[in-house]
């Protein structure tokens, strides 16, 4: 199975009694529901399970590790840090695809075919970190069929939506669930960020591009 939540649980085994208390997991119910619905589609035929792959990655490196799933592909893969440039952290998987994250928000992808080329939305990142509500523009840049970057400006409204727990290697951590709703004409996406007390996003589900769709990120370590 490729569910993100048990994946984190199993990776955390030995550190905490993962998943033993249904109540404690209630905060993840939404993610579980989403991931269950989506991830039950494809099966990984060969090689290690996602859980085994994540554990192996955690054991083989002492650096930062994230578990990231393209929701439509239904597979959570381990990513390690490929680089850091100021506030932007770039994560890479074994297939040499990268996802760059700034303040919890995905600001670039590479290697997926219909990549997010850039994302300039500092006001929203700021709202997320402060766990405040507000409406600001997202500026997302994509490549067109003629190799020119073009910009989509989407107004997005960020609102805190209560407290939820997120599974980490150190057990369940209380977070504020931040919902970002972006609507423009018939286009509508809803992103979710689980932000801890110091303003750091521990887990998120974000729309990235037309070709990629939603991406689920759990910052497992670092």
């Amino acid at each position: 199975m490729k569910k993100l939540t048990p994946l984190i649980c199993i990776a955390a085994l030995g550190l905490t009694a993962c998943g033993s208390d249904p109540e404690a997991q209630a905060g993840l119910s939404q993610v579980k529901a989403i991931t269950k619905a989506v991830f039950s589609r494809g099966e990984v035929q060969t090689g290690p399970t996602p859980e085994e792959a994540l554990i192996a990655t955690l054991q083989s490196t002492s650096g930062p590790v994230a578990a990231i799933a393209i929701e439509a592909q239904g597979v959570a893969l381990p990513f390690v840090e490929a680089g850091r440039n100021g506030p932007v952290q770039t994560w890479i998987n074994g297939a040499r695809q990268t996802i760059s994250i700034k303040g919890g928000m995905i600001v670039a992808t590479r290697g997926y075919g219909h990549d997010l080329m850039a994302n300039d939305s500092p006001e929203i990142i700021s709202l997320l970190a402060k766990r405040q509500s507000g409406t600001q523009n997202r500026e997302m840049y994509f490549n067109d069929g003629s190799d020119t970057n073009y910009r989509n400006v989407i107004p997005c409204t960020v609102t805190p939506a209560g407290r939820e727990n997120v599974q980490t290697l150190n057990g369940l951590v209380g977070t504020t669930k931040m919902v970002e709703r972006c609507v423009s004409g018939a286009f509508e996406v809803e992103n979710t960020f689980w932000v801890n007390g110091s303003g750091k996003t521990l887990q998120s589900r974000q729309w990235v591009s037309g070709g990629i769709g939603y991406v689920i990120v759990n910052h497992v370590r670092g």
Binding site: A82, A95, R96, A108, A118, T148, A186
Partner: protein
Amino acid sequence: MTHSARSIMTRSIGLATLLSSTLLGTATSANDTSLSTSTYGLPGLVDLPTARSLPDATIVGTYARFDTFNRSTLSFQISDRLTGSFRYSRLEGLESDGTDYFDRSFDVHYRFADEGKYRPSMAIGLRDIIGTGVYSSEYIVATKSVTPTIEATFGLGWGRLGGTYRDFDFGNGGNVNFENLFSGNIAPFGGVSWKATDKLTAKIEYSPDEYESALNGTVLDTQTPINIGIDYAYRKGQSVSAYYLHGDKVGLKFSFDLNINEPATTSGLDPAPLSIRPRPSRTSSPQTYSTDWFVTDTTAHEDVQAQITAELAKEGIEVHAMSMAPTRVELRISNTKYGAHPQAIGRTARMMSRLMPASVEVFDITLTAHGVPSSTTTVKRSDLEALEFAPSFVIQDRAQIGETVNTRQSALRPSDDLFPRLTWNLGPFARVNIFDPDSPVRADFGVRLKASYEFSPNLVLSGSVRQKLIGNLSSSTRDSNSTLPHVRSDVNLYDEQGASALESLTLAHYSRLGTNLYGRVTAGYLESMFGGVSGEVLWKPVDSRLALGAELNYVAQRDYDQLLGFQDYDILMGHVSGYYRFDNGYHAQLDVGRYLAGDYGATISLNREFSNGWKVGFYATATDVSADDFGEGSFDKGITMTVPIQWASGGSTRKTSNIDLRSLARDGGARLSVDGRLYDEVRQTHTPQLEERWGRFWR
């Protein structure tokens, strides 16, 4: 460098835009375009045209069949309003001796009015303008949406659409029959289409064209002027149609469409580039920025060059040479992989940020064309560090693209162990000849060995031999009846005797002759029919849309067996050429000079070019050879198409597929076919091409 508003395209968000990742809106209202085509492969009802256009930059291919009629048509939306079609027909048993008749025809269709609230779309069209005239007809047509799903069409037709066949030109063909245009009977036509669902469209029409051929009696047993049809678009880009013509014959049609502006992937499937490695700030660790290494570390240049050469090789980028100064480094590279040079420049810049000593602040990245430096992009390392996650046009504003730098502070050092080198390739080949007047397809298959020995990046010995294993190219019985020297028309003899052929064996030298000047000399067996010496000079400033060139060749005709021997025909020939890349993607080339048969004249080539690498165009050559001496086709002309493999595959490659649908191989207006012509390679490393694809810099 400046970027215009073009670079920062803000598009309104629509579901289609964001969810499909495909965009490119035009100002045209959706009502003026349609992918629903007639049996002639242009927007239409069953057999009749409508006033719609294809969506801009769309190519539609159709194959329609009924009874003994087979039509294959390729249509291209040349501009928002102008559509062009090339058609190849097989009319079974229509020759007087009962054999199949093959026919080639061209149509143009121009939408001159857009649909308004009360006004219909209106278009004018010419069918079969330069062929033999089998389909010869003209029309003016109007189409109006009546409801969101129903549209009505009314038109006036001449020629076949006026209900009369014109006399066919079975002579040379190939000329526009001006005297026939809009002549003879006029008849009204019209019809209605109903888009019942997204996938299903039903059509009914009244057609004056009753297929009563003067050539071979009545073709259809016409019961009624009414045709009916139904289109089923079973998946995006493909549809099938069934239709019932004149109460007599049932037909089928298959069609596909593609939009050049919609590649398989927008950003490509290449592995992610390596990250920029930012330096610590100068204030926090000033010692990092010391330039002492340049004096103390005597092997720094060598070591760094070896490392970056090895690392960039993994990315498909060859480092030919490097110069190194304490604060500035130039890399001279050859991009062997990426269809868009900016992607190679970006990856090179990233690698330099990872491997260069911290004091090196300015990166000069020099692209090469045929091994000679052709442009230098200069970027500041601190800009790269600051803008890694900004949209590409921000770094585009900071970068400078110019003539290869002459202000080098230290000597260029060639990379070790790169040259000389031998590369070779053994593989299968297919030589395909389609749409011949005698046979729709002929082909040879076999194996080909290609090898090249590069003495240096710009001095290359290369050759190609092939062995035919199976095929029927040589089955052509068309012996040349040309009164000109047989410079091309003996192609059947070359095919017949060239089962084992030396396709080419040349030594080529490329050089920079000065600022903005490039040179080439090629000697040897230049192509399958000619060998000799070819020299070329090109003037092309880095930021110029205009280029000028001259080529002079002294060549002798090769033996039919395509081994080492020559025949006793030789000629001094060549051209002066002007090239211009218009702002809107159109490209014109004019060549004036002497052709292989000794005739004098000019060739004009017009292309629509897309920054993703596609080119679609046509060319025509007029020389002092008369139409009678030229023979079938009257003059040399053709349609060319260049399809970048990367467009279809998603993964980067510089390979393209080139299609040349041309007149028959005749002797008038024949050009030499020599590899390595300068213009196309050089200009890809220049603006505006580099700027147009700059969206790949951070890719």
